[in-house]
Amino acid sequence: MIEVRGLAKQLGRQEILRGVDLTVAKGETLVIIGRSGGGKSVLLKHLIGLMQPDAGEIWIEGENIIGLTERKLARIRRKVGILFQGGALFDSMTVEENIAFPLEEAGERDPEKVAEKVREMLDVIELEGQEKKMPVNLSGGMKKRVGLARSIIRRPSCVLYDEPTSGLDPVVSDSINRLIRRLQKRFGVTSIVVTHDMKSAFHLADHIAYLHEGRIYFYGTPQELEISTDPLIQDFMLGRSENGAPKSG
């Protein structure tokens, strides 16, 4: 479904990605973990063509997206949804207008059909009755839910999540994790989740990739990660800084 080969990116003088190789099978959930500033979000933005790499290839459903123009990328982007870290809701639109936006842009003109799908999405994200609110009046967790509804309303075959639980309290984080799990079961989408929240990672992942110093340092199942004796991975999982886990980014 998604294959990344030798992806490299330099921003200014800093090498963010130094040859990332990854494969994500159809319907599976890959969680990418790594330290803050380690290039996880940069990697995610490459997967949907929001950034262009210096080298490497990204194959989505058999098509290399590198070098495609913005207009040609639109075809790929209809198959891939993304949840941005802050939700990235359109602040001039209400909740329901935000959720309906992708449908209207896709040419759906029947207001009944749009309203029905928006209601369905509000039910999925458990925000019924909030449809008239403006984004400025929503909490961080609600913004992420609405952003998620907006990204999946067109039923993409793959959804990318950028730090879906960052900045949220443990209870709201858990509800977001459950929501992502529910969406995976209900719509069978391929998911790539970027996070440094280990609880989220173990809750969601079929496979986990640890991005360190611009490369995939570890790739395996959550069980394999848990029993790993690698000091770097141990430090990250336990949140230890004393043993001197090398600085990334």
């Binding site: 993304i82 990235a88 809701l89 602040d91």
Partner: protein
């Protein structure tokens, strides 16, 4: 020292050329999108309200007081020569050919250009433009094309309004406050004001509309570094668009004067 100065100068020239190139590319993409992609008429209408309707007060006041003060100043000079009744012609032609288009463009730059740059800039730094792109919507189609079309429709109307109000205010000041003979005033004004003066005003309005919208949208789309970056982009948009209007106005005047020469023929 001299080499360093030369390098700095060269760097500034290159930056300027790159900047102009970027704005021209944006203009090209916008024109191509306007013909090849679907037009979002709802956004166009919103922008018509934002640009045309909400600029009414600014344009009316600018036109009225410019016409009034210009009529008074012209009268003070011309009356000494016994040419008080020529004030109408001077006011009318000047407002049509220069003051109406330029002052309206500067006011629209301050009000609308700043707002465009700030709004698009905020969308950029809060990832809303990335969200548009991720949802397979081209930012130029969604943000720039409706604004460009709305400016192209609104600016000529705003300029025509400013010109008409300026001429009316000039008439009011000359006739009722300075007691110029109304019949001669009108006769001179009608005799010396030609269709080509009005065409010149509207042509300038269209050109200024494009300058303002492309410079403002470009600054918004390239703003960075959070709130400070948006503030900087907004300031630069207003300054650059104002300067571009004033500089282009000179070349437009020289060029258009060949096609539409001033004065009674």
């Amino acid at each position: 020292m001299f080499a360093r100065l030369l390098t700095a100068l060269g760097h500034s020239v290159v930056s300027f050329v790159v900047y102009v190139g970027d704005v021209v590319v944006l203009a090209g993409e916008t024109i191509s999108s306007a013909f090849a992609q679907k037009i979002r008429w709802r956004l166009f209408m919103q922008q018509i309200v934002e640009i045309g309707l909400l600029s009414q007060l600014v344009v009316v006041i600018t036109g009225a007081f410019t016409g009034a003060v210009f009529a008074a100043q012209t009268y003070f000079q011309f009356n000494k020569l016994g040419m008080g009744s020529a004030v109408g012609a001077v006011v009318s032609v000047s407002i049509c050919r220069e003051l109406g288009p330029v002052l309206t463009a500067l006011m629209v730059t301050g009000r609308v250009g700043a707002s465009m740059s700030a709004e698009i800039g905020t969308m950029k730094v809060t990832e809303q433009i990335d969200a548009l792109r991720a949802l397979a919507v081209h930012p130029i189609d969604y943000l720039v094309v409706p604004r460009t079309l709305a400016m192209m429709v609104s600016m000529p109307l705003l300029v025509a309004e400013a010109v008409a109000i300026g001429i009316a205010a000039g008439y009011f000041v000359a006739i009722f406050l300075l007691e110029v003979n109304g019949t001669y005033y009108m006769a001179n004004m009608v005799r010396w004001t030609q269709m080509r003066d009005i065409i010149m005003a509207l042509t300038k309005a269209g050109c200024f509309a494009l300058l303002i919208v492309f410079i403002s949208c470009h600054k918004g789309l390239t703003s960075k570094e959070g709130a400070v970056g948006v503030g900087k982009a907004t300031t630069e948009a207003v300054v650059n668009a104002s300067l571009a209007v004033l500089i282009f106005n000179f070349f437009l005047t020289m060029g258009l004067n060949i096609i539409f020469p001033a004065g009674y023929q």
